[in-house]
């Protein structure tokens, strides 16, 4: 037991020793606090400010960029700023979603880091009053041959499985990519999607003077103290101290908290004023933000906080990031009944404070006032203006990459074996994707996952997408293409894209080049979001993804949701029948810069990316949607890593068929990667209607054959001819074998 009562430094000592710097506060910020309070902040107060003013909690550095996101259209019921964003899907229902990064915790402690990432994002969803229905995970690792990467993958995959499977929310999709840039700094981004009855909508606000502030869920321990500050600093591989900041998750507890919170919303919804989960900077950030949003003050009695360890100080209680805890603000007459719901499940439920008149945030501990600061001051870190410079590498653009492939069949097999292309089934097989029996399209079956909404004809499509290679070559176009890729994946399932969330994974924002990348990527995402009518309704920023001074490639992750009005419109990527015709949608001159092929052949990326033609992209996306709505296509798959060659292979993967394809271009073009391209298969009955609709936007390239062989001929007489057994083996076994 750590019972040692170390004497806390006095306010003067904090100032003299500049202790606040170790917690991330700058001299200027400290002085500002001193000025505003007209006294020196004490130890607890300094702790509160350092956590609340960290980048992780305040977004003080990224805010100027985030503010530019377009986040309004007639579906948006809740944009950024709450636990999660909300979109209207009709019938008084809404979809709620958000993504979150758990990069630093997962680097240190892969199992618990990933597990608590899932736990945290789910709390964001059910704190809005919504039932979580799906989890997706976007994972970026270093070289799969390195023992350290294997250890990280094992831990992260087991952690997501351990939490998601136990709580019973299906993990339906995601992405797994490998690049040396993530060797020291893996990325673990998780997205959760929930279904809301609009009447149950709750936000994180502490309205109503005299209302009760109720703490529910797990006890508070010393785990994760200063996690927010930790996530707001660079990682030093030689320094182990940061390690104490990792928490252990308890999915069993979270399931009880989730189910009971949702029950409380159904039973006492009108009397529950606000709900918020305790995430980064735990108790202080949840309560202070709730008070601030309502323009109120708050008083808390810390002696009442359920504690797991003895002798915790106010500082520790406020900054602990123990998991599975929530704050409810409720009308006092209903406080007892609501707490009884939780107690019936053996959960803690305690009134720890009240909403007050005025704007002070006041903490009492052992009958003493231990913190007394203005709420709105605590929640508004001083704005920062960040410098931007275009990185030198973007100034001198290399010439275009033109492949010259002597053995195209071998090239295709090698591409299929690339860790970024090969099947991830050996990893996602550990995730329960079908619990609740609502998952219509599972991992590996289509470009996006689909979850149906019971008691309606509707379904939701969802995907996460990242392409840091493109963002590295051109942050703006890379951002555009991250969003476009997500939209392609959604559209390929027959759904209409309706909105996005994002996770912005970047290096140290104090570096003007990195800030430039951040700003440009966001501008690119935003540009496409507006074009495709997918407002940005939530998101998360993860900065300081650097180890020993080396930043990761700029890596914006886009999580998109699409709506399907009727489940009979769902399409998957597999070819369906022999003799169906295969069409390439949006034939374009080949481009290889930033492609999987370039990465494989040259071992590096270079060259310019072609600007995106808005009109053309919009027209293609609309046409594909019209084709699926009119039931004109049997299968749809978008072209991404590895281009047409890989897409064809994937559409054959789970079928007994083969394909015969003839190109009007040189064979090499089959590896080109151009945005907004798809392959579809069309039955002979629909061929005419399909061609009438598409016009020049679709080009017939071949046919599905009964012979399980992939045969592609270029207009240069070069050809690929491979038995499907070989294609399947490469695709299915390569990654799995490498990770052994």
């Amino acid at each position: 037991m750590s019972t040692t009562q170390v004497q806390e430094p006095t306010p003067n000592e904090i100032k003299d020793t500049k202790l606040y710097q170790a917690w991330g506060l700058t001299d200027a910020e400290y002085e500002l606090i001193e000025q505003k309070l007209q006294r020196l902040p004490n130890y607890t107060e300094t702790g509160l400010f350092s956590a609340m003013w960290s980048e992780h909690c305040s977004y003080k550095k990224s805010k100027p960029v985030l503010k530019t996101f377009w986040s309004k259209n007639d579906r948006v019921l809740q944009g950024p700023g709450e636990g999660a964003g909300i979109l209207d899907i009709g019938d008084n229902q809404a979809v709620v979603f958000k993504a979150e990064s758990h990069n630093h915790p997962s680097a240190v402690e892969p199992y618990e880091g990933a597990a608590t990432g899932v736990g945290g994002i789910l709390r964001d969803i059910f704190s809005m009053g919504a039932q979580p229905i799906a989890v997706l995970d976007s994972l970026q690792f270093g070289n799969p041959d390195q023992a350290e990467t294997k250890r990280l993958i094992d831990g992260v995959v087991a952690g997501i499985a351990g939490y998601g499977n136990a709580i019973g929310i299906p993990t339906v999709g995601g992405a797994t990519n490998f690049d040396a840039t993530y060797q020291q700094n893996p990325l673990v981004n998780v997205m959760a999607v929930g279904l809301l009855n609009q009447a149950d909508l709750h936000v994180g606000q502490a309205r109503g003077i005299g209302n009760a502030v109720i703490y529910v869920g797990a006890t508070t321990g010393r785990d994760g103290i200063h996690g927010a500050t930790f996530a707001s600093s660079e990682f030093d591989s030689h320094q182990d101290q940061n390690r104490s900041a990792v928490q252990v998750g308890d999915p069993f507890m979270e399931k009880l908290v989730m189910d009971t919170t949702l029950n409380a919303v159904r039973e006492f919804g009108a009397h529950i004023v606000g709900i918020q989960d305790m995430g980064a900077a735990g108790l202080v950030s949840s309560t202070a933000e709730m008070a601030d949003k309502a323009g109120r003050g708050m008083q808390l009695n810390l002696d009442r906080v359920p504690q797991r360890e003895a002798h915790m100080t106010p500082y520790e209680l406020m900054l602990s990031e123990s998991q599975e805890r929530m704050i409810l603000v409720v009308e006092p007459e209903y406080a007892q009944s609501i707490m009884d719901l939780f107690k019936a499940q053996d959960l803690n439920a305690v009134q720890i404070g009240t909403v007050t008149d005025g704007k002070q945030y006041q903490l009492y501990f052992q009958d003493e006032l231990v913190a007394d600061v203005p709420v709105d001051f605590l929640t508004s870190a001083p704005k920062m203006h960040m410098a931007q410079t275009k990185p030198a590498r973007l100034e001198k653009v290399a010439s275009d990459y033109q492949p010259d492939l002597a053995q195209p069949s071998e090239t295709l097999l090698a591409l299929l074996a690339q860790p970024n292309v090969a099947s991830k089934a050996s990893l996602y097989r550990h995730f329960d994707c079908s619990v609740k029996a609502n998952t219509v399209v599972k991992p590996g079956q289509a470009d996006a996952a689909i979850v149906r909404i019971r008691q309606t004809d509707k379904a939701l499509a969802m995907t996460t997408d990242i392409n840091s290679r493109l963002t590295y070559l051109d942050p703006f176009i890379g951002g555009q293409r991250a969003l476009l890729e997500a939209a392609q994946n959604i559209v390929a399932t027959g759904a209409t894209p309706i909105g996005i969330t994002d996770c912005l994974n970047f290096g140290n924002p104090d570096d003007p080049e990195i800030y430039y990348e951040l700003a440009q990527s966001v501008a690119g995402i935003n540009d496409m979001a507006q074009l495709l009518n997918t407002p940005v309704i939530s998101g998360n920023v993860s900065l300081y993804n650097e180890t020993d001074g080396v930043a990761i490639h700029p890596t914006p992750m886009v999580g998109m949701v699409g709506l399907i009005s009727n489940t009979d419109l769902i399409v998957t990527q597999n070819f369906k029948a022999v003799d169906d015709e295969i069409y390439l949608i949006n034939p374009q001159p080949a481009e290889f810069n930033g492609s999987e092929l370039q990465n494989m052949v040259q071992g590096q990326l270079s060259g310019a990316l072609k600007p995106i033609d808005h009109k053309q992209v919009q027209a293609i996306m609309e046409k594909v949607q019209t084709a699926t709505k009119r039931h004109l296509v049997q299968s749809v798959h978008d072209l991404s890593e590895g281009g047409l060659a890989v897409a064809l292979s994937e559409s054959l993967m789970e079928t007994p068929f083969g394909a015969q394809v003839e190109l009007k271009t040189p064979l090499n073009d089959i590896f080109s990667e151009v945005p907004a391209q798809f392959i579809v298969s069309v039955s002979s009955a629909q061929q005419q209607a399909f061609e009438d609709l598409m016009g020049t936007a679709a080009m017939k390239i071949g046919k599905i054959t009964p012979v399980p062989e992939l045969h592609i001929i270029g207009n240069d007489a070069k050809e690929i001819q491979l038995p499907m057994t070989q294609v399947k083996e490469k695709y299915k076994d390569s990654l799995w074998q490498r990770l052994q």
């Binding site: 037991m1 402690e109 785990d223 928490q247």
Partner: protein, 84 residues
């Protein structure tokens, strides 16, 4: 040949969800006097080493390298010499 018996538990500051749930279960089974339950792991590792000192070093090394997570767990062990 040596036999190491290694007990691994969470550090006291780390949440032990299993221990808490087992404690409640024991209470429900009328073992009301149970104050605290910690669940950990137990390993028996049989291995060869030239002498006891090296054996001890090896146990510590294996345990730190693989058997425990030094961020969250601690361990203690006993070592005995056993017949080959």
């Amino acid at each position: 040949m040596y036999l190491a018996k290694i007990n691994v538990i969470y550090k006291t500051s780390v949440l032990d969800p299993q221990g808490e749930v087992i404690k409640s279960a024991l209470h429900r089974l009328d073992y009301q006097t149970v104050e605290r339950v910690v669940q950990g792991k137990y390993f028996e590792v049989t291995f060869d080493a030239p002498n006891e000192k090296t054996a001890q070093q090896q146990v510590a090394a294996m345990t730190n390298d693989l058997l425990i997570n030094p961020n969250t767990e601690t361990y203690h062990y006993t070592l005995t010499e056993v017949a080959d």
